[in-house]
Symmetry: C2
Subunit: 301 residues, 2 copies
């Protein structure tokens, strides 16, 4: 599981900082999460193949999370995209994009599917054989969802020595990886446990931006491997955080602690602070495994 | 008159090139012309004060000319803009911007005026005591206007030696600059020609992007000081230029020549070409004073 931060600063794009966008690579899938202005340039800078992205998840319709989307959709037209593109986001996102395409008298040469969200309960919005994506209802000034990415059951790992010792043909490897026992030609049954090792534990990633401190999300993100939680402010601006329905670094850490998350990635920093190191320092007073998200940073978990 | 090119490449924003946007400074006014994605970052990079821009002119609603506008409008909110902001552009531009503001549940804390254009004839869209702006109807795949910026009458230049010789009080300087004669205390009338030099000739700037080669615009831009004319392609791609309703460098030069323009600035280059020098070379076979627009370049005329 690899997370690349394309942008993780609040509000306006600046010369050296970008609004929210990130790419999650998980089980050969590549998901784009939020798409602030300049995201397509950040994709280029970080050498991420545009064509590998088929699903885009938008948390909410504040500009610093979505103003880059119409440009990306248009660029896919110019790149002669063929594959379907799926966009998940709050109701209204379809109108925003289609109005602009209509007024520029252009339409996508690929299928563009909108999955508009309205529910205030968590729901499964994406599922295939390897990954599930669920919404995490957040509390912000407008309707906002975080997203929880869950790896599904991992295949068991082949014990290649054992398999070769029993002279088992490759045609059975898939069955073995999925937990099957094997009956040899002489009738002996070899139990799966002799042929495989335990699989990697399925990984999980929770993206939570933007939100007021909200313990309601804890059951959803319990034991998550990586929690990205916004930390727009430091505790010194706690009143402003509450007023604008954002979180402080300390609050993000408290959520990570209470959710029993393994790792916490911070981001969505207000640009009022000269250095982001203070966010890490503050969060570490509560929770040990804190990583500072920053534009262009990648994390492998 | 100073022209700063924020972006002058066609189609998608890339790591090193930006879509169309430019700033024209003329008689202490600062006009933003077109606003592709990333324009606000380009404004910052070029150290242009956001607050000095009160009028934004959009040629057409293709993304590479307008996708940065909603972000700029939003950033002005965050910067606590107070002054009115005027946006001129094709009908529909108001809906694009207001829909996005509505869905993000935000509204500007300053007055935002839209001047939507529909006419296919040239019309005056802005006029104050120093500058006039007229549309230049262009031929493109969707409704498109160029813009002609005309300095109005310049004040005459004070002949400070003559004025001091007659001991004329400063209170009369404005009257003199505007062409008035002066009656001295002894009754003598001093004609204005003795007190002033001829003013600078009013300057003019024509912005023409995007357009098919179109001689219909010649009467409008006749004798213009500076013509910015798109040159998406080289003559080798003339068929593609016609098909996509764009111009070649040679065609841009031909328009400059026939309009008796003093200077030609090229731009809106397709990113298919490795070097833009060829655009200049090609245009110079037709017209002498060719300047290559490029992101971050400034021209003073």
């Amino acid at each position: 599981m690899k997370l690349t931060i394309l942008g993780c600063y609040a509000a306006t794009p600046r010369t050296i900082t970008n609004p929210t966008s990130q790419v999650l690579e998980i089980r050969d899938r590549m998901f784009l999460i939020d798409c602030g202005e300049g995201t397509q340039v950040q994709l280029r800078k970080n050498k991420i193949k545009f064509s590998k992205i088929n699903h885009i998840f938008i948390s909410h319709l504040h500009g610093d999370h979505v103003y880059g989307l119409v440009g990306l959709v248009s660029t896919y037209m110019l790149l002669n995209r063929v594959d379907d593109l799926h966009i998940y986001g709050p109701k209204g996102i379809k109108e925003i994009i289609t109005l602009q395409l209509k007024l520029s008298n252009s339409w996508t040469n690929y299928n563009l599917y909108f999955h508009e969200l309205e529910s205030t309960e968590s729901e499964t919005v994406f599922e295939d054989e390897k990954v599930i994506v669920k919404t995490i209802p957040l509390k912000h000034r407008i309707y906002t969802n975080g997203y929880l990415f869950l790896e599904k059951f991992n295949e068991r790992k082949l014990n290649i020595d054992a398999v070769q010792q029993y002279e088992i043909d490759q045609v059975y490897y898939k069955k073995i990886k999925y937990g099957g026992d094997i009956t040899l030609e002489d009738g002996r049954v070899i139990p799966n446990t002799e042929l495989t090792f335990d699989p990697d534990t399925p990984k999980s990633y929770a993206f939570c931006s933007d939100t007021l401190y909200n313990e309601d999300i804890l059951p959803l993100i319990e034991n998550v491997d990586v929690l990205y939680h916004e930390s727009t402010f430091l505790e010194s601006e706690a009143i402003l955080a509450e007023k604008t329905m954002h979180s402080t670094a300390k609050e993000a850490a408290r959520i990570a602690l209470k959710a029993n998350a393994k790792n916490l990635v911070l981001g969505h920093y207000s640009t009022r602070y000269e250095s982001i190191q203070k966010f890490k320092d503050e969060a570490e007073t509560i929770f040990p495994n804190v990583f500072l998200g920053d534009d262009g940073e990648s994390f492998s978990f």
